[in-house]
Amino acid sequence: MADETTELRTRLHLSLPAFSREGMLANAKVRVALCILLPILVLTAFAPLLPLQAPLETNLRAMMQPPSVEHPFGTDRMGRDVLARTLEGVKVSLLVGFSVAAIALVAGMFLGTLAGFFGGIADRVIMTVVDIFLAFPSLLLAIGLVAIVGTGLVPVIAAIAMADVPRFIRLQRSQVLSLRARPFIDAARTVRASQGWMMTRHIIPNTVAPMLVAASIASANAILVEASLSFLGLGIMPPEPSLGNIIRDGQTYLQQAWWISTLPGVVILMIAFSLHFLSDGVREELDPRASK
C-alpha cells in the first residue's frame, strides 16, 4: 500500500510531503488551521452525543436564555438550543463548501485543460462563455440563479458552483498554456509522445497543486456565500438550520438576545479563517518558491 502510494506520487510528479513532523505538520499555518478546524469537525460529528437539546426541539419555557452551562450559546425565541443548531448548520456549511470545491475543481480542470491544450474553436467558445459568467458579481449571480431554480441545499450548491467554475476554468487554462510552452513538453513531443500522453502525464499532474489551493479557498468562500444567501432568505430555509438563517432569525431580537446572531457568526469566521490558513500553509509546502 505504502509502495503503491509512493509510486503514484512519483508518477503524478506531485511529491506531496507526508503529513508528518517534517512535512505539512511542520508548517505553523497548517498547525494553527488544524487546531481550529479539527475541534469543530469533531464537535459537529459527535453533536448527537453531546448533552444538548436536539436542534429542532423547542422549549417554550426556556425562550431566549443567555449562554449558560446547559446552553453554551443560549437559546432562541422558540427555546431551541443555539449551539445544537449551530453545529447542525456547520454540517450544512461544510457540505456546501466541499461540494462546491469538488464541482469547481473537476469541471474547471476538464474544461480549462480542453480550452488551454487544444485551443482553437473549443478555446474560443469556452472562454466566451466564461467571460459572460464572470460579468456577474459572484454573489449576485448566485442570487439570480437561486431566484430561478429555487431555494434549498442542492440549488444553493449548484448556484454557488456555477459562479466558481468559470474562475477555475480560467486558472486551469492559464496554467496549461504556460506549461505547454515549457521545454519538457517540447522534449515529449520530440520523442513522439501522443497528445493524450502529454496531457495526462505531463500537463495535468503539474496543475494539480495550485488547483487544490484554489479549491480550499473556494470552499471557504462558498461557505460565506451560502451563509449570505440563507441570511437573505434565499438559501437553506428554516426550520432546517444553517449558519446564515440562524443569524437571520436572531436579527429581530438583536437587542434582547445578542447571542443568537453573533455567536454563529464567530463560528463561520473561524471556519473560513482556518480554511484560508490551511490553503496558505499547503501552498507554502507545495511550492518551494513561495515565501514562508
Binding site: 459572460i132 460579468a135 449576485l140 430561478i148 446564515g244 443569524i247 445578542w258
Partner: protein, 315 residues
C-alpha cells in the same frame, strides 16, 4: 492604444450580448413558465392567461427575444407585475442611493487604507515587523468576516447600544444630513472589509517600490523619509492600487445588497431582494442585467485606464 480599445470594446459587446441572452433564456427555462411561477397558487386560469398575454409569453420564442432586445435598446424595462410601476422609475429612485453608498465607501476606504498600507510597508522595509504582522493578520480576519454578520455586530454596538446612528427611518436624498447619517453605518461596514484588502495591496505595492534603486537615490539626495515614502514610493505604487480599486467594485456591489437589506435602505439591492421575494421576474431580470453591465463597464474602464497610465504595457 486605439486598436486595443476597439478590440476590448468588441469583447465587451460580445460579453454584454451574451449576458442579456443568457438571462433571457435562463428565465424562459423556469419549469412551467415565468407567469405561472409568478402567479403561484393565487391566480385562476383566466387571470393567468391574461398575465401570460401581457408578458408576451404567447409569442414565439424568437419574437419574444427580438422584442426583449429592442426594449432594452430603447431603455423600456417594462412594468413591475405586482404594483404596475415602470421598472425604470423604481431604478431611477433607488440607484442614487446605492451609488452614494458605493462611492462613499470607496472614498473612506482610500482615505484610510492607503496611508495604513504605506506605513506598514515602511515598517516592514525597516525590519520593524510588529505593526506589519498585526496589520496582516488583522486584514486576513476582517477580510473573512461575513459582511452581514459584521453589519449586525455594528448595528448592535453603534445603533442599538450606543445610539450613535439611527437604525431605521426614511431614506431620502432631499434631506442630505439625515441621509448621510442613515447610510453612515452601512458605509463603515462595507469599508471595513475593503480597507483590509486595499491596505494589503498598498503594502505589497509600496514594499516592492521601496527596494528600487530610485528610492535609494531619493534618500541619498537628502529628501525626508516622509517625502520619499509618499511622493516617490506611493506615486509609483499607485497603478496597482488604482487597478484593485476598480476590480474590487464587484465585491462592493455584492456588499451593497447585504447592507441595504440589513439597514432597510431602499437601494437597488433591496429592490432586487423584494423582486425575488414577490417573484417579479420583470424587475429581477432588469436588475441582474444592470448589475452585470455596471460591473463589466467598470472592469473595462479600469483596464483601459491601467493601460493608458502604464508606459511599460505594450499593445
Amino acid at each position: 492604444m486605439l486598436d486595443y480599445s476597439l478590440k476590448k470594446f468588441a469583447q465587451l459587446f460580445v460579453t454584454v450580448f451574451g449576458v442579456v441572452t443568457l438571462v433571457f433564456f435562463t428565465l424562459r427555462m423556469i419549469p412551467g413558465d415565468a407567469a405561472s411561477a409568478m402567479a403561484g397558487e393565487t391566480m385562476s386560469g383566466e387571470a393567468l392567461g391574461a398575465l401570460r398575454e401581457q408578458m408576451g409569453l404567447n409569442e414565439p420564442l424568437g419574437r419574444q427575444y427580438f422584442d426583449y432586445l429592442q426594449s432594452l435598446i430603447t431603455l423600456d424595462f417594462g412594468h413591475t407585475i405586482t404594483t404596475r410601476i415602470p421598472v425604470a422609475e423604481l431604478m431611477a429612485k433607488a440607484l442614487p442611493v446605492t451609488l452614494s453608498i458605493a462611492l462613499l465607501t470607496i472614498l473612506l476606504t482610500v482615505l484610510i487604507s492607503i496611508p495604513l498600507g504605506t506605513v506598514a510597508a515602511y515598517m516592514a522595509h525597516k525590519g520593524r515587523t510588529r505593526l506589519d504582522n498585526l496589520l496582516t493578520s488583522f486584514a486576513m480576519i476582517v477580510d473573512l468576516m461575513p459582511s452581514f454578520w459584521t453589519a449586525l455586530v455594528f448595528l448592535l454596538l453603534f445603533s442599538l447600544t450606543l445610539g450613535w446612528f439611527p437604525a431605521s427611518g426614511s431614506v431620502s436624498l432631499d434631506d442630505p444630513a439625515a441621509f448621510l447619517l442613515r447610510i453612515a453605518l452601512p458605509v463603515v461596514v462595507l469599508s471595513v472589509t475593503q480597507i483590509a484588502t486595499m491596505a494589503r495591496i498598498t503594502r505589497t505595492a509600496v514594499l516592492e517600490i521601496l527596494s528600487e534603486d530610485y528610492v535609494r537615490t531619493a534618500r541619498a539626495m537628502g529628501w525626508s523619509e516622509f517625502r520619499v515614502l509618499f511622493r516617490h514610493a506611493l506615486k509609483n505604487a499607485a497603478l496597482p492600487i488604482v487597478t484593485v480599486i476598480g476590480l474590487s467594485f464587484g465585491n462592493l456591489l455584492n456588499g451593497t445588497v447585504i447592507v441595504e437589506f440589513i439597514f432597510t435602505i431602499p437601494g437597488i439591492g433591496n429592490l432586487l431582494i423584494t423582486g425575488i421575494n414577490s417573484r417579479d421576474y420583470q424587475l429581477v431580470q432588469t436588475l441582474i442585467v444592470f448589475y452585470a453591465l455596471l460591473f463589466v463597464t467598470i472592469n473595462f474602464a479600469t483596464d483601459l485606464v491601467y493601460r493608458a497610465l502604464d508606459p511599460r504595457v505594450s499593445f
